[in-house]
């Protein structure tokens, strides 16, 4: 019998919990073993309870792993990659489900590549509603990698788990859909908090997707991705667990109740949608691209622009279905 393949799971929270669930059938079948590492005690507890052997550090967890699953948001990817890079190798398949960007509007796969020798990177996008997994229902996700063998490796690792994967080579498109979807949830939350109606909130989601498409075309993404599972397929269910926080934070900001909402400032600042709006607005200006939603959210967050008038002005502008 072949040696079980080693799977590394880095990070914690609901994503790590979900990842452990996805690989569990393979662990039971003896096809792979799981080693994990998380910075916090909570994260390590989640990993341990999920059946992973907890390593002393990120590099130890990653060493000799065939597949590495990163369960952290985009703003933490660079740091985590730095911790694991000394043990990284070119044959490893690296999976992330981040829905944001890093400094300079670096997409998650660009962050991973800039900090390590990893190239075979897989992005999970689309609805990926982790509560479905908890209720025994199938998870649905877009899986994107430029390497077929990386997609095949992930499929092999989650074999037996209730997971429907729709694959594409367009990792740029899938990552943009995820990042802009979080900005859309933030904007919709802002709109709700400021008293705008549900139609307006829905239109902000539509604008987020259109904006992702425009940026995507300029960045070499495929148009079809935005009308597929990662784009429209994510917009319609729009109940992704990590995005609830974006809506809640947006709502508190829009209603002016952030201080009483229990969200601390540091966590809000590091929220994927907040970082994406800030970095995206700067990035668009630098390249001379139009990104009205990112710009509006950034002005509300950073310049104290009034929420309702700013979003209403945005909604007044032409939707630009065909805009490039």
């Amino acid at each position: 019998m072949a040696q079980p393949r080693r799977i590394a799971i880095l990070g914690g929270g609901r994503l790590a919990y979900g990842a452990l669930g996805m690989v569990r059938p393979g662990v039971r079948a003896g096809t792979h073993v799981v080693v994990g590492w998380g910075r916090s005690a909570d994260a390590r507890r989640v990993l341990e309870e999920g059946g992973a052997t907890v390593a002393a550090n990120a590099a130890e967890a990653v060493a000799d792993a065939a597949v590495v699953i990163l369960c952290v948001p985009a703003p933490s990817l660079a740091e985590l990659t730095g911790l694991a890079a000394s043990a990284a190798s070119g044959d490893q398949v690296v999976v992330h489900a981040a829905r944001g960007v890093g400094a300079g509007f670096a997409l998650p796969h660009e962050i991973l590549r800039a900090g390590s020798c990893w190239k075979k990177i897989v992005a999970l996008g689309g609805p990926l509603y982790l509560d479905d997994a908890g209720s025994g229902r199938a998870l649905n996700a877009a899986i994107a990698s430029r390497f077929d063998e990386a997609i095949d490796a992930v499929r092999a690792v989650v074999r037996g788990a209730p997971l429907r994967l729709s694959s594409t080579h367009d990792i740029v498109g899938v990552e943009l859909c995820g990042a802009l979807s979080n900005v859309g949830h933030l904007a919709a939350g802002l709109a709700a908090g400021a008293g705008l109606g549900e139609t307006d909130q829905g239109l902000l989601h539509v604008r987020a997707l259109l904006e992702a498409g425009r940026l995507g075309r300029a960045m070499g993404a495929e148009r079809a991705t935005f009308s597929g599972l990662a784009g429209v397929g994510d917009l319609i269910p729009r109940r992704v667990s990590s995005q609830r926080r974006h809506r809640d934070v947006g709502h508190a900001l829009g209603a002016g109740t952030l201080a009483d909402s229990g969200h601390d400032d540091a966590a809000v600042t590091a929220l994927e949608g907040v970082v994406t709006a800030r970095e995206g607005a700067r990035f668009a200006i630098r390249h001379g691209w139009s990104a009205p939603l990112l710009s509006a959210v950034q002005r509300i967050l950073d310049d104290g622009a009034p929420v309702a008038p700013t979003l209403q002005a945005l909604l007044e502008t032409e939707l630009g279905l065909q805009a490039a």
């Binding site: 890079a85 044959d91 900090g115 390590s116 020798c117 077929d148 063998e149």
Partner: protein, 550 residues
């Protein structure tokens, strides 16, 4: 290629291609042969001789051939193509040429003109070099990662991938290799370059193999790639021009042809599988060539500006085929103390990672990594065409970035760019193609405006150069706008039929706007036009005009 290796490599290439073709699922051998016959007879339409007879013979046989006979036909076609690509090679000439060095490189430059060759031959073969083209040695500046290239060549096989603007490139690269003390590399040269009997003789014996771009048979391209890959596997350093053909617009290549470039990762993987530790290391070395003037600029830009779809992939009647133009070009270039810069870029491994002087692959953080892991699965080296295509695409991107970083901007590029930009600004209602073809309402600019624009672009370029984003020729690096403009105008006036820019009193105009566009395009992609609110002139791939507002 050494004679001892030739037959072995040819046999290997034929065996590999035949096995690949006959083993492909769904491939009908009769269709494969018929396809080759169709493409070749179409190319040879109106011609006679042995070549036509060969293909006519196959045409007669293919309809009623058995499976074994069909396989034999594929073998014959493959062997024919492989022999043609490999060409004739005389080891004695190779040895003499590589020992002789400078005199022979002088001969090469003169070989474009058989008459001058005959005049210079006795002197050159006597070891005295050629007096006919003084200054060649001083005119080619070799710079960049030269010492790294030397060290890596001792550790593995080199795949040198230069920019391509002129037929003079292969000769200049050959000269640069000799200047660096390296032996000739193998390279695929267009069949038209072999049509000059003297140049063809030397090219063949210096390692050039034939690439016949008129051949549209897919099997020919397969054989060509297999041959290139086999030579790399056997440790022959190669030169590919990944731009595919000379840059028609004069711009740096952005969209590279990845077919031959992809043989790098294929050869690397093959040698790993064959466990040939002495041949495992393979390095891809980008290089740039920068000419102050380009021999074939007029023809190339005319071709680019042909209506969409009418430009020619192969040009057989340009300035490079006219001996007098070639001699005029070099004489005038050298008389102006003009330099040709050959810049060796930072080497890469077959996966696009940087390598250090010891030939180790590095991750972006500078840590040494094992490149073999990229082609491994569960500890075993595996062949995966999709994976390799993706790695090759990435190598192409890294090479393209190196081209921008290592190209040397000369006065003609900068002043050409500034001049055309001013004409675009003065004719805002005229789109670029109309401006180039028919001119605008305003067809000249003041010298003062030109100096000011050159100054503006200098600030950006010098800043970029300080950050390692481009290289500048010495005058562009430190000279004043006045001196830079004067130098460019001198060059523009000296060789081309009409100058790209000329001065009349305190005004500057462009008698040949196409040529101005050509030299301007060397700065395409550096976003200098954004500062004055214009869009790029070329599309992002630099192969067509931009659709944006001029």
């Amino acid at each position: 290629m050494r004679a001892a290796d030739k037959e072995r490599i040819l046999t290997d290439v034929v065996a590999r291609v035949v096995e690949e073709q006959t083993g492909r699922p769904g491939v009908q051998l009769d269709e494969l042969v018929a396809d080759s016959v169709f493409h070749e007879l179409r190319r040879l339409k109106g011609e006679g001789g042995d070549e036509v007879a060969f293909w006519q013979g196959l045409k007669r046989e293919v309809g009623h051939a058995s499976a074994r006979e069909l396989q034999s036909m594929v073998r014959r076609i493959t062997r024919r193509y492989a022999e043609e690509i490999c060409g004739r090679f005389d080891e004695r000439v190779y040895d003499a040429v590589t020992r002789a060095g400078e005199p022979v490189m002088g001969l090469l430059l003169n070989a474009i003109s058989p008459r001058r060759l005959v005049e210079g031959l006795p002197h050159a073969l006597g070891g005295g070099g050629l007096p006919a083209l003084p200054g060649v040695d001083q005119s080619i500046v070799v710079q960049g990662a030269v010492s790294t290239l030397h060290r890596l060549r001792e550790r593995g096989t080199i795949l040198l991938v230069p920019t391509h603007v002129s037929h003079m490139d292969s000769i200049a690269v050959g000269w640069a290799l000799w200047k660096m003390g390296l032996p000739p590399f193998l390279y695929g040269a267009g069949l038209n370059l072999f049509s000059n009997p003297v140049l063809g003789f030397f090219m063949r014996n210096l390692g050039a193999y034939t690439v016949d771009r008129r051949k549209t048979d897919p099997l020919y391209k397969t054989v060509l790639k297999a041959y290139a890959q086999a030579t790399l596997e056997n440790g022959y350093d190669n030169i590919f021009f990944p731009g595919g053909t000379r840059s028609r617009a004069g711009a740096l290549e952005r969209k590279l042809k990845l077919g031959l470039l992809g043989t790098g990762v294929a050869a690397y993987t093959h040698n790993l599988q064959q466990r040939k530790p002495q041949r495992e290391r393979l390095y891809i070395v980008p290089a740039t060539l920068s000419f102050q003037l380009v021999l074939e600029a007029e023809t190339l830009i005319d071709d680019f500006l042909q209506e969409q779809g009418k430009s020619r992939y192969i040009i057989t009647d340009d300035e490079a085929t006219k001996p007098k133009r070639v001699v005029d070009f070099f004489s005038q270039l050298f008389s102006l103390d003009s330099k040709i810069y050959f810049t060796v870029g930072q080497p890469l491994d077959p996966f696009g990672n940087r390598v250090n002087d010891d030939g180790e692959s590095l991750d972006p953080g500078g840590r040494a990594i094992d490149p073999a892991r990229y082609v491994m699965r569960d500890g075993e080296v595996v062949v995966d065409a999709q994976r390799d295509a993706e790695f090759t695409r990435e190598v192409g991107e890294r090479v393209s970035e190196a081209y921008a970083r290592d190209t040397v901007i000369q006065t003609t590029h900068l002043v050409g760019h500034a001049g055309l930009l001013l004409l675009r600004l003065k004719n805002p209602q005229t789109d670029l193609i109309r401006l180039l073809r028919a001119g605008g309402r305003v067809d000249d600019v003041s010298l003062r405006e030109l100096y000011a624009e050159v100054d503006r672009e200098l600030v950006e370029l010098r800043g970029l150069a300080a950050r390692g984003g481009v290289r500048l020729a010495p005058l562009v690096e430190t000279g004043s706008a006045d001196d830079i403009v004067a130098d460019a105008l001198r060059h523009f006036a000296c060789y081309h039929t009409q100058p790209a820019l000329q001065r009349r009193g305190d005004r500057v105009s462009s008698p040949d706007r196409g040529l101005l566009f050509y030299y301007s395009n060397r700065l395409e992609g550096f976003r200098l036009e954004r500062g004055v609110g214009l869009t790029p002139a070329l599309a992002p791939d630099h192969r067509t005009l931009s659709t944006g507002r001029s």
